[in-house]
């Protein structure tokens, strides 16, 4: 199974080189509807050390969705699905206090397709 996963990933990358990977992610079953979602995944890192930051609450708001997640020990988060082609408002708050340093709250807006959200935070004084 692991080998198949690696192979699948390699084939995806090769197809990506040829600009043919888009249809691997979403497809329509014969008599089904278009797929209309993408996952929101991302990583929040320290601006200076580049290390992932745990214990951050990530709030994501789009026209149709409002999602929340907390970063894990590596700074990764997964909030779930949103409608495709949305502009996302992102708000990040440090909720674990001084445990791994305090970070300043961040508000930002991005155009989200299906990229991994990669944001950097600075420590607050």
């Amino acid at each position: 199974m692991k080998i198949a996963k690696v192979k699948s990933s390699v084939y995806r990358k090769v197809l990506g080189v040829f600009g043919a990977a888009g249809f691997l992610v979403t497809f329509q079953a014969c008599y089904g509807t278009p797929q209309n979602f993408i996952d929101v995944n991302g990583k929040i890192s320290d601006k200076d050390t580049q290390e992932g930051i745990s214990g951050l609450r990530v709030n994501i708001i789009s026209d149709t969705d409002s999602l929340t997640a907390t970063t894990d020990s590596a700074g990764n988060f997964y909030t779930g699905i949103i409608s495709r082609n949305n502009k996302l408002q992102i708000n990040i708050i440090d909720i674990d206090g001084e445990e791994n340093g305090s970070y300043a709250e961040l508000d930002t807006t991005i155009d989200y397709e299906d990229q991994l959200i990669d944001l950097k935070l600075s420590k607050s004084n």
């Binding site: 199974m1 198949a4 996963k5 192979k7 699948s8 084939y11 995806r12 090769v14 197809l15 040829f18 043919a20 888009g22 249809f23 691997l24 497809f27 329509q28 079953a29 014969c30 008599y31 089904g32 509807t33 278009p34 797929q35 209309n36 979602f37 996952d39 026209d63 149709t64 997964y78 779930g80 699905i81 409608s83 495709r84």
Partner: protein, 356 residues
């Protein structure tokens, strides 16, 4: 026309990718045949539904139990739930179904004939989490109504077109089953869709299964299939509306030009279905002989994880016309819904039909 080296290479790599997907079989698309009741009597219906069905609609609680099982292995956000039928709008509790699916974390959409779709109903479905909708329009008024067996059907579609195309947050497309009668009016249909603001149009041929077997006018011959593919190719070039051929069949040398992806029958590999009586299959239009189990006897996840062998290992499909076909390495025996059982030959090959 011959394929370029790049196109051949992409086809080869894609075939390998499809092979690894069959080994991994990640569920990403689940149909729920939420009712067998239907308000139309379409002559090409593959599920042979009726206005009143002796099979009762599955309670939504039974379906959400399945979703809970699926959540134990997959991220809900990565599995699209598609409500089909019958006609999903026949269910008075459709909004409640949608709410529960959404509450379980899954995106959902539905396929509809549009006849019962009002602005009010659509708005309430959107509030229940509807993300995607597919509407059928099988011709201009005369031919659409002929296929749908109702003089009111076309008016219903026209109304529904305006409703779905006005909403930016629900992805939509319109599907047309192309046949001998509507082949010559495709451009008029297209203009109508563009005027209505429709963003995407998907064209099908009609499989010789279900009621469609009995109507000769429904089935295109090789030359007409070629006409259809040439037409789709032209439409894709001008980009006024995203036009594509469905994923129903391998299209030979046209395969890379008439849709975004290459042919890959994902039935039982990425696509599963829960039928009205609890049967678990791949696509709802697959022959009943491919039913793998029933949710009332066994857990869905156990069926998905342990069965479907005939769809994940398709070597048995290299029979009949496929046995010596040079394109087998690309199509892997074609679509599952064109096989009657796991010993049968394909009921149809569009690629081969074009060469006759």
């Amino acid at each position: 026309m011959p394929l370029t080296i790049k196109q051949r290479l992409v086809k080869r790599v894609f075939a390998q990718y499809a092979k690894t997907q069959a080994e991994l079989y990640p569920l990403t698309y689940l149909f729920w045949e939420c009712t067998l009741r239907c308000n139309l009597n379409c002559i090409h219906c593959g599920s042979d539904c009726k206005k009143e069905s002796h099979i009762k609609d599955m309670p939504v609680e039974d379906f959400t139990k399945i979703l809970k099982e699926i959540s134990s292995k997959y991220k809900p956000g990565e599995v699209m739930i598609v409500l089909t039928g019958g006609e999903p709008l026949m269910r008075k509790d459709l909004e409640e179904c949608g709410k529960q699916i959404t509450a379980s974390g899954f995106p959902w959409g539905m396929v509809t004939n549009g006849l019962m779709l009002t602005q009010e109903r659509f708005d309430s479905l959107v509030k229940s989490g509807l993300r995607a909708i597919t509407l059928s329009m099988d011709g201009l008024e005369e031919n659409h109504n002929w296929m749908r067996g109702s003089n009111k059907s076309f008016a219903g579609v026209e109304r529904a077109l305006k409703i779905i195309s006005a909403n930016e947050n629900v992805v939509h497309d319109v599907v047309t089953c192309v046949n001998k009668r509507n082949l010559h009016e495709l451009e008029q249909i297209r203009q109508k869709l563009i005027s209505a603001g429709v963003k995407a149009w998907r064209l099908f041929t009609i499989a010789p299964i279900g009621r469609a077997v009995n109507y000769e006018d429904l089935h295109l011959n090789g030359s007409e299939i070629k006409t259809l593919f040439e037409y789709i190719r032209q439409c894709r070039a001008d980009k006024k509306i995203k036009t594509s051929f469905s994923c129903e069949a391998y299209a030979g040398d046209y395969d890379h030009e008439i849709r975004d992806g290459l042919f890959f029958c994902r039935a039982g590999i990425n696509i599963g279905s829960v039928l009205a009586d609890g049967s678990v299959s791949a696509c709802p239009n697959n022959n009943h002989s491919f039913v793998q189990g029933n949710i009332y006897n066994e857990s869905f996840l156990s069926i998905w994880e342990n069965k479907f062998e005939s769809m994940r290992n398709r070597k048995w499909m290299k029979n009949g016309v496929c046995k010596t076909c040079k394109d087998y390495k690309y199509c892997n025996g074609g679509a599952m819904h064109l096989r009657e059982n796991c010993k049968s030959t394909t009921l149809r090959c569009l690629s081969k039909d074009m060469t006759v």
